[in-house]
């Protein structure tokens, strides 16, 4: 036991650790720039955002030590329990949660606030890894598929009504992990159908859509009629599709808030953006664009037009990199993230134990989706979806969530010299 602990440091994947500290530091410098002003520039000033972020970073160091100290098997053994606990913590929000900025996503106690959905991401990755790592777990069997989907979708469903559809979206990315582990290709088609049907449900008159679906179902039945498939299974499919259409409509109009509807309506072209919903993105583009090649210089971005980017310390933090460090700086950060994610994939690939490998893919996917959506939004390539940029965006819960996510994996990997 003693030997194992001291060898842990030998087993740690140092590139990943370096990436972590690199990204966290760059992130902190960006937040410093976003939140400092002439009257507040002391580093340890906790009344300002960069001060609190520093505090959280220091506390996450403790979290790291704790995570590395625990036995690797702990994570596999307690994955289900951790998952169950995180689901409970999400449900508890409906009773005990506080509403901040229009979403009931927070627990608040003695001045500190915690967002359980950030931790649910880790928990779900663990649970998924546990499920898929069972010996001979075959994703071609329907009952196994259902279990896997259930684990992924359950937290998402609880998070959507907060309302926070952005965070819920993140969970669906884990479907990529399922493909990797053998989910039949049929589901790609299914996934595309679900997304298409979602947008169609919002664009076309519902009754018309139902009529079209009915005709299509009958058509497919007659074409693919065989001994194996009966009319009833097609009808069931039709009913499911129709209920989905109505559910989408209901959720869109009664669960999503106006700002969500506005954003979606702008993508699908239903509404021309006169309201300034795209205003945030526009400001962000201006800020980034104004950085040119080398940027305006650290802390120099505050004096100009760019200071009108709202939410700059959270969702739009990357715009500061763009403005102050220009093309050179932004590209570097992009490459750092890319390198980080590729490293996770590389390390995941060499895992001998399935649990660690699947967990590795899961977190790589989660990091990738956050990276893609956040920077995509800041660059104006995809619509506004409020998701943090890992290690950069201001916020204790997201920082700790991602730290845990990463270091659990580093811990699992560190066991590579020992058989379980």
């Amino acid at each position: 036991m003693r030997q194992r602990n001291s060898n842990i440091f030998k087993g740690l994947d140092w590139p990943l650790v370096v990436f972590y500290f690199l990204l966290v530091s760059l992130g902190w410098f960006s937040i410093y720039s976003a939140s400092m002003n002439e009257t507040h520039f002391e580093i340890l000033d906790f009344s300002v955002k960069y001060g609190t972020q520093l505090l959280w970073i220091l506390m996450s160091l403790i979290l790291i030590i704790f995570t590395l100290f625990l036995d690797a098997k702990f994570y596999e053994r307690f994955a289900s329990l951790i998952y169950a606990f995180s689901i409970l913590s999400l449900l508890g929000l409906f009773v005990f949660g506080k509403t901040i900025s229009g979403a009931t996503s927070w627990y608040v106690f003695s001045g500190a606030s915690l967002q359980p959905s950030e931790f649910a991401k880790v928990a779900t990755a663990l649970a998924l890894a546990k499920l898929l790592s069972d010996k001979n777990y075959n994703l071609k069997l329907v009952k196994n598929q259902i279990k896997a989907f259930f684990i992924i979708i359950l937290p998402a469903l609880i998070i959507i009504p907060q309302p926070d559809p952005g965070s819920a979206l993140v969970f669906f990315s884990l479907i990529f992990v399922l493909y990797h582990e053998g989910l039949p290709k049929f589901f790609i088609g299914l996934g595309i159908s679900i997304i298409t049907l979602f947008f169609l449900a919002l664009l076309i008159n519902k009754l018309l859509l139902v009529a079209i679906l009915t005709i299509l179902t009958l058509l497919f039945y007659f074409i693919y009629k065989s001994k194996k498939t009966s009319l009833s299974s097609f009808l069931i499919l039709l009913i499911v599709a129709v209920s989905y259409v109505y559910t989408v409509d209901y959720v869109f109009n009664h669960v999503f808030e106006q700002r969500h509807r506005d954003r979606i309506n702008i993508i699908i072209g239903k509404v021309t953006d006169f309201q300034g919903i795209g205003y945030n993105t526009h400001q962000s583009e201006i800020a980034i664009g104004s950085g040119r090649f080398l940027g305006k210089g650290y802390l120099q971005g505050t004096q100009t037009q760019g200071n009108f980017v709202p939410q700059q310390h959270t969702d739009y933090i990357f715009s500061i990199v763009g403005e102050e460090f220009g093309f050179v700086g932004s590209t570097l950060v992009v490459l750092f993230f890319m390198g980080f994610i590729l490293r996770i994939l590389y390390v995941a690939n060499r895992q001998k134990i399935k649990f660690s490998r699947v967990y590795g893919y899961s977190i790589a996917t989660l990091f990738l989706i956050h990276f893609t959506i956040n920077i995509g939004m800041v660059l104006g390539m995809i619509p506004t979806i409020g998701i943090p940029l890992p290690f950069f965006s201001y916020g204790g819960s997201s920082l700790w969530g991602f730290t845990l996510m990463l270091f659990i994996f580093i811990r699992l990997d560190a066991n590579k010299f020992y058989e379980w």
Binding site: F274, I288, R292, Q312, I341, G376
Partner: protein, 627 residues
Amino acid sequence: MNNNNHLLRNLTVIISILFIMRLFYLQLIDKRYEQLSNNNAVKIKYDYPDRGYIFDRNNVLLVANQVSFDIMVIPGEVKTLDTLEFCNLTHITKETFINQIAKATIYSPRLPSVFLKQLSKEDFGALQEVLHKFSGFYIQRRILRNYPIKSAANVLGYISEINEDQLTRYPYYQQGELMGTSGIEYQYEKELRGIKGIQYIQHNRFNKAIGSYRNGAIDRKAIPGKDLVLTIDTELQQYAELLMQHKRGGIIAIEPSSGEILAMVTAPSYDPNILVGRERSKNFTGLYLDSINRPLFDRGLLAQYPPGSTFKLANALIGLQEKVITTETTFLCIHGYRYGKNKDAFMKCHCGVVNTPINLNLGIYRSCNSYFASVYRRVIEKYPTPTQGLDTWYNHLISLGFGNYLGSDLPIGKRGNIPNSDYYNKVYPSKNWRATTIISNAIGQGEVLSTPIQLANFTALIANRGYYFIPHIIKQIKDTIINKEFNIPHYSTIDKQNFEPIIQGMFDVFEKDGTARFSKLSDITICGKTGTAENFKRIHGKKYQFEDHSIFVAFAPKDHPKIAIAIFIENGGFGANLAAPMATLLIEKYLKRKSDRPALEQTIIDKDLTPLYQRQQLIEQQIAPKK
């Protein structure tokens, strides 16, 4: 592991490349932001368009705009300045200056906050020229409201600064902007506010504006708000508010043929102009904390009262529809109605008609409790179980517009309460309630509650002989089609022919020896019904009785009705005393555009119920002191 091995890896690389390409475009190719790199500051200036005007149904201007100027500050840009000079120019103390800067910095050092609201014209004149000396400060032009007619405060609502929570929910707005908070201003905020214009203006190193950025290519023009035309008749509204002075209650008047609300009055109310400008916050707090008068509580829409004898009309309709009575069915009244063997199981009645059989017509115009207790009982006992009976009764009432929201375009409302079997099963867990247990519902007491607008709507339904249009307050929005829902008639479960006897009874309330005979008008055929609702409070188990509430519903003229009205006056006494004559004055004013009975008018105006309210409050405080 299989062929998807490289999927994630490839995706990561592709996405990163796409990002780098996009960065390349934004930062190196797109010339739009070129000039920003020259350290020329580009500032955003918002241009707030005219907020939509609000007119009444006759195009009388109810709400107009006035321009106001705020001083805005961006703390991050404030450099050392001559505080003394600044404070002198703006007439504030140095303390205020420091506090305001601190507040703004906490909100955001980089985004504008309101530093000083609503400059006086003189200050604006003096500051306009020199403000550029003070880096970080600028003047923002805003639109405030102005109310030429000092009434209908509850209808119109008001606008106020947006708060933190709203700022997140509605990204359109900036800090310091004004948004409709109640009434029409709130309900039709989107239409009224238009779309603010955005101008990008270039400033040089000395913070002086030197021109439009990129010649205004990415500017956005302001789109003015849309004017609204309301269904309100200002003359009627003002008159009703005048009659209701020194009294508390609500009045709703509807045009039956369209559901348009002609007047919507709550008393006491306030002059809408006090919620405009610098004093707004202070005045609002005053109104809000007035827990005795509650001027912000719109009684017409929100107050749930027992409807009293006016409810008998509903029971009459149901009785006819269920065929448990005909127009000729009679009952006897022995100064009351005995509904049980117990000594106390006796419902008193003051109709004064003893020893004569009372039919429907007489029952209505003399408002006989015994008659309606009998009818109600028959309806419930017609069915095998009280549950079925009551629920049938309940369904009729729902179709008559009671017990639920009406679906109007008013932002607030209450359901009222019509009890059904589920309700009583909860109240009486042994579930052995019968018609006689709940007999008070027959005369509009008991568990029945309604709001004045529900009563007015019900009256309109009777006037139409069987249907209503959803009461609404918007008549027209410029360039927009109004909700078609308001054009659909909602039919009740009562057949058309059953309305005539009720209407005749309501007419006879004035004509014959009816309860409102002293308020009869010679030249208008009014149909109405008095109501008197018991006003008691149960404190520590004891029943404390105060003056009854005065209710009256009416429509006129009897044929081709033009107005339906419901009046509720707290502590007003018998319906005939106060509410009935008031109703006739209002109807007269609306139909003839003048009042022919100045003496009566003056009496009503002068009637001051404040001593009664104070007395009730005093007694309540003594028995159950509120902390």
